[in-house]
Symmetry: C2
Subunit: 686 residues, 2 copies
């Protein structure tokens, strides 16, 4: 090791900084807060820390050739990286040393900071009626007396045995038919879509058919991998939306399209590639993991990888073609970008989408690699800013079947609101932005290991206690260097704001209190001139920097919560009701949110705490319902056209409500919940 330093940039996180040369890529990632998975504790045996040394160069350093800024290939790497991947620049992070400036891509599967998936499937009731159904058929061979063609032969049997009439067959499936019939000795299993079209034929008898329900979020893409026959959720897979590189939120994606002739094409290709990679993830999980075997002397030079099944585990060993149905939801912009539909007008008043209605599109027409004759069902959109993901929430929660007035809040990168009951449903969206999810803040991050998820501030000393994801104990019970904090995630943010306010560190208007600060945690940043408050000192972090919340961060959060509150309030007013019977919070945010803190902060209208429930990943659940029950598809179309969309920003009182709602806590006439939680002198300060 020498005392030189090198500039390292990690992609896709964008984390960058100077590190001493001679350290390993994993060590560098830790220093810069772009943690790489190292299951084995860097013992070089798990192979999980694969990274790709990018072929790019840093323009400012003028590196023009493939960087030799890493240590040479090590034979241990041979065990985990095949020659093709080696060619592509893959290395093991624990072995490879930094010798100079580098641009390093950390593939999703190597990221230690994998989002804590709160998108596990909830137990919702779904009637079993999948769009794709299997039928087993035995037919007679053709003879001179009956030389009927192959397709009519199975068609007659499908009608006779199962009452299916007037089916059509996809040309790609038709191509498989003659061989399948003969290979199966005139016994075949056919997959039929919506009782309308034969989309697959396999020789012999099969029972498994599989599907995926995919929720394309602005930030995260998550999918349920399901057995269409048993409705079992086999796996939950997710990855980052690769479009994040074009911008964090919906508007910046739309802008990217408008500024770049090939922008839509690129973003669409990226998400399609991501969907294919999700599918691969799901399929891979049905096979035993593979390990490379050492070559014996005299053996041929070919690489050999053998399966290492887990003891007692039964593997389904599926192929991509075994996925026969997919349902997709997402907000209107994600919907449009996936389908290469111009999203420009969705971003401009009056925000008309290109289409509301659901679509059935051949997988091959979208470049999605599953059974090629299969259809992708894309859920319908309600409006420009209330997309197919919200329709997913609705068909999962079915407020239109209930008498009680429900307010359903789906906080993703933006907030979507639905209010009503079986009489009437109205919806709207509010520009919460991603602040409530931890994005756009100086030290915001996704709910991943190292994220501060709970925060307490002592009102007397202003000392901070917190808990990070991936570690059981609170800070006060730990050594500082054990914490390895990295940032603040969505659930930590609400805690934080409530605590800052309750401790008198910020005022109800959101400004840092000039007087009454009780620790050196409050300071003015000499570089930016902004006031800030230190949540964790550098020694407690894995990024070796103080984690702070700045005045600008507080403002971001206020804007988000103000938009949400004002939205809810105006909706309730518009609906003509006094109060709601239930508040349902969907999305990862709902799972983590502390209902009491949310009320303190005035995130949504006053109601009894018992009325607030989290409904988890309701969008994904609705998408799954549409996968497993075709009736839900019709229901989705019905509801998408029967929810009245309200454009809040043009409502008369919007600005006024919004400004009021930005205050902490929101001042209502009756706000009994806050008595006792917030000191009276703070609560009632003018």
């Amino acid at each position: 090791m020498d005392d030189k330093t090198a500039t390292i940039i990690f992609q896709p996180s964008g984390r960058r900084g100077e590190v001493p040369t001679g350290i390993s890529v994993i060590e560098a990632s830790r220093l810069l807060g772009a943690d790489i998975e190292a299951l084995c504790g860097e013992k070089k045996v798990c192979g999980k820390c694969k990274v790709r040394i990018e072929e790019g160069f840093f323009e400012k350093y003028g590196l023009e050739s493939k960087p030799s800024h890493v240590s040479p290939w090590h034979e241990e790497e041979d065990k985990f990286i095949n020659s093709e991947d080696r060619q592509a620049g893959f290395r093991l992070g624990c072995i490879t040393k930094v010798l100079g400036d580098l641009l390093i891509f950390v593939p999703e599967e190597s990221r230690a900071g994998k989002q804590v998936v709160s998108k596990a499937a909830r137990d919702i009731y779904i009637e079993h009626n999948p769009a794709v159904t299997l039928y087993y058929l035995e037919v007679d061979k053709p003879t001179f007396e009956d030389p009927t063609g192959d397709y009519e032969r199975i068609g007659a049997q499908l009608e006779k045995q199962y009452g299916l009439k007037d089916l059509r067959i996809d040309i790609q499936t038709l191509r498989q038919l003659p061989a399948a019939l003969r290979k199966g000795d005139w016994k075949v299993t056919v997959s039929v879509w919506m009782d309308q079209e034969v989309i697959r034929v396999r020789p012999g008898k099969f029972e498994g058919s599989y599907g995926m329900a995919i929720d394309i979020g602005t930030t995260t893409v998550a999918a349920y991998f399901c057995d269409l026959g048993t409705m079992e959720v086999i796996d939950t897979v997710s990855l980052m939306n690769p479009q994040c590189k074009y911008g964090e939120d919906v508007m910046s994606r739309i802008t990217y399209h408008m500024m770049n002739a090939d922008g839509l094409e690129k973003m669409s290709d990226d998400i399609v590639a991501a969907l294919n990679s999700l599918i691969d993830q799901a399929i891979e999980g049905t096979h035993p993991p593979k390990q490379k075997v050492k070559k014996k002397k005299g053996e041929k030079d070919a690489e050999q990888w053998i399966e290492v099944p887990e003891k007692g585990k039964i593997y389904r060993r599926l192929a991509r073609e075994d996925i026969e149905d997919i349902t997709i939801c997402g907000n209107t912009a994600m919907h449009h970008i996936l389908l290469k539909l111009d999203p420009e007008h969705v971003g401009m008043a009056p925000f008309p989408p290109v289409i509301h209605h659901s679509l059935d599109i051949k997988a091959r027409d979208l470049g999605i690699h599953i059974n090629p004759s299969s259809y992708i069902f894309v859920l319908p959109n309600e409006a420009g800013f209330v997309g197919a993901d919200n329709v997913g929430v609705l068909i999962a929660e079915e407020p239109y079947n209930k008498g009680e007035i429900q307010l359903i809040i789906d906080i993703g990168t933006n907030g979507e609101l639905v209010l009503g009951n079986k009489q009437k449903l109205i919806s709207s969206s509010c520009a919460t932005g991603p602040a409530l999810e931890g994005a756009q803040l100086s030290y915001g991050m996704r709910a991943a290991p190292g994220a501060m998820e709970r925060i307490k501030i002592d009102p007397e000393t202003h000392e901070v206690d917190y808990k990070v994801i991936g570690k059981d104990a609170w800070r006060q019970y730990s050594e500082p260097k054990e914490m390895n904090a990295k940032g603040i995630c969505g659930s930590g943010i609400l805690d934080l704001l409530a605590e800052l306010y309750s401790a008198g560190i910020i005022t109800k208007s959101g400004l840092f209190n000039k007087k009454g600060q009780k620790s050196d945690r409050f300071r003015k940043n000499p570089d930016t001139g902004q006031n800030e408050f230190v949540l964790a000192w550098a020694e407690e972090t894995s990024i070796k920097k103080d984690i702070v919340i700045t005045q600008k961060d507080v403002r971001q959060i206020q804007l988000a919560k103000g938009a949400l509150y004002a939205g809810c309030k105006l909706m309730i007013h518009r609906m003509g009701v006094k109060e709601v019977d239930k508040v349902k919070i969907a999305g990862a945010f709902g799972t983590h949110v502390d209902r009491e803190k949310a009320l303190i902060m005035g995130l949504f209208p006053d109601c009894e705490i018992e009325k607030i429930v989290s409904v988890g990943n309701a969008a994904g659940d609705g998408c799954r319902a549409a996968l497993l029950n075709r009736e839900k598809r019709a229901e989705a179309n019905w509801v998408s056209r029967n929810v009245e969309y309200i454009e809040l920003t043009v409502e008369e009182n919007f600005q006024q409500e919004f400004m009021r709602a930005m205050q902490l806590p929101h001042m209502t006439d009756k706000f009994p919940h806050l008595e006792g939680l917030v000191p009276a002198e703070i609560l009632h300060q003018k």
Copy 2:
């Protein structure tokens, strides 16, 4: 010119032979009977004689590099061949001299021997009800009060104005929608397929929509290019089926597939390329021809081509995308190969096709370059050997709507027979092979310029008189060297056989008469040892060789006519009728056939000559009917499953009937028509 010779092979005709070096490619083509178009009489001004000097080499000569066996590029060629085509090896045949061995490809458009297209559209009654219909719409722009999406906006208007409900839209069309609506200021023309799916949207008001009805024959692919609105046949285009290189008939194509793993793929790709080239032909015809302009001094180096419109002619100037519908028919093997459906089983007893039913396939799924959202309608098949082309004949002729018993004979590369009336229809096929169309004979050829189409033989002298296509006068009124005969086509063949028989040159068993030959035209070929009869002496031909008919040729024709006659006879027997009310002959053969000669030769059962009618290209007409009237598509499916297919070869009497029918003329109990036409001693010889 020196006295050396070179071996030349012309593709795709396969004509080959030695020619003196120094002559032009056109001259060589004439010597070898592979005539190249030379509209201007080799004055180097028409540019029609473009050929491609192939990059290949003759293995037996070991030429391994691009041949320099042609004269250098001449500046006159610049006028007609652009730099891209020059790169690809194109030359003008009138200018380019042969300097050594060559493999020369003559593109379809340069072939003088273009088939005399008898596939012109007949006037059949078609009710106007095309599958693709245009609708002009004016809609309101979106507002905050009505921010409905683009698609629902036009959907509502389609319902309100035209009563169209529950339409879907193709994803590729949906992608055009937002721009079209805005570019057209909320006025658009949409194309709707079968009242079910929106397949095109254009800004503003349009009236034209176009389609093609394509008949894929084993030898020729021919299409009607139609205006879907007015039903006008704008153009008739045709070219050779490029699969001919894999074999002349259906069975050899099937065999090629079975012997080559990529055989089906290759043949399918070839026919798809041919269809695209047909489409280009049709589209090109709607634009004025182009001519290259000479560069002026000082002008940029770019080539310039300008349009030279014919005076007074109005050009539609269409693009491929303007073709919005296509219907296709063909025999079952052509059908299967086009669609990449395994044709193996169609060629093996009991000959089941992969599918009977018609198919609607997206043009893009077949790689056909028209409006990408459009469907290709593929007509249904009756049976393995009675394909979609025969269904085309049926829906054009509608025997199922008549009381009279019709026998419909479609002679293409094989013979297809349908018999019956509104009570019952039966069909069968007979292996006539292509002999009746002129193929498989030593000097057989398609009905193209130079083909002997009428032949007379003087019974006294055995002198031969004949007429060739492309020349008005008979040989006896012309100088021998004016005839430029090249071979015999289908219509000449029947003449020939009847004349040979009537003149006593061959016996009723088809053998050359050993005694009674009256000229030196009858001879034994010293090379093959076969008897043959000279029809045209070398000096009368363009191929500079005697055109003869050999014993083997006569046998081929006998086999064909025997199969056809036996087939008809067995069908009539099976139907339980004594005679038929009408004999309809479809196909190019029907147009050219001399009904009397056909009866003499026993091509089909005895009937009064008035009952025999030619119905021209009935398959193409049926295909066109399906293009212009969607009801015909349903009718096609109905009839394809309601014609009873009879496998003749397994009928009890088939062999016996077939053997009897091979004789000339077929001996029936009553055959009054032949009295007087054929000398009694010949007619009644044992």
